[in-house]
């Protein structure tokens, strides 16, 4: 992380590390609570939602990066990346939904929900930027 010169990118990376660590800890905690019979009533809802909070936090971190990135070109690349990710996630979930509507595939998402697809879309968005603009997005070496 010390190699990241861009302050906004450095803050984003730090936030991402913290949120991912929180995700792992909360997931382990929630699973442990359910396994040991504490997941009942209103507590069960709270426990089930706990691991979702750091994932929502990652959305926040990406949006903060958009706000805090003062390099307009890098910000433009990130906007393109986010739009690509949103389009990708919406397209896949819509196709999946209609396949399920006609009973072509079983219900559920197999653990690959909208958030997962959006994060995959971010990666593909970076590839899209690389192919069309020559830059993947915010780089560790940028100011």
């Amino acid at each position: 992380m010390a190699g990241i010169k861009n302050p906004a990118a450095r803050r984003y990376t730090l936030r991402l590390f913290v949120l991912m660590a929180a995700y792992v800890l909360l997931l382990i905690f929630s699973k442990w609570m359910f396994r040991h019979g504490y997941g009942e009533g209103a507590v069960a809802y709270a426990l089930a939602v706990l691991p979702a909070l750091p994932i929502i936090g990652v959305f926040w971190a990406v949006m903060r990066l958009l706000v805090e990135q003062n390099d307009e070109y890098l910000r433009m690349l990130l906007v393109r990346q986010c739009l690509f990710a949103t389009g990708f996630a919406l397209a896949i979930t819509t196709i999946r939904e209609w396949l399920q509507n006609f009973d072509m595939i079983p219900p559920g998402d197999g653990g690959f929900g909208a958030a997962f697809l959006w994060f995959v879309g971010l990666g593909l968005g970076a590839l899209f930027n690389r192919l069309t603009m020559g830059d993947a997005g915010w780089g560790g070496g940028c100011r």
């Binding site: 390099d71 307009e72 070109y73 890098l74 603009m133 020559g134 830059d135 780089g139 940028c142 100011r143």
Partner: protein, 63 residues
């Protein structure tokens, strides 16, 4: 939009990184502007013009 950024930079013997540092932007930004992949905002164009002490229209022109 076309620009003379690369020529002006070369005249001063500045690298892309040098220019990026003077403008407080990323080196990628300079490269994208020089190669015509990205048109800078008006505020950045003004900063570029101020750095080279030239009017904007001497640096940037329509295609």
């Amino acid at each position: 939009m076309k620009n003379r950024l690369k020529v002006l930079r070369a005249e001063r013997d500045w690298s892309q990184a040098d220019l990026a540092e003077r403008l407080e932007v990323s080196r990628q930004s300079i490269n994208a502007i020089e190669t015509g992949k990205y048109d800078p905002s008006l505020p950045l164009a003004f900063r570029i013009a101020a750095l080279f002490d030239m009017p904007i229209e001497s640096i940037f022109s329509a295609d």
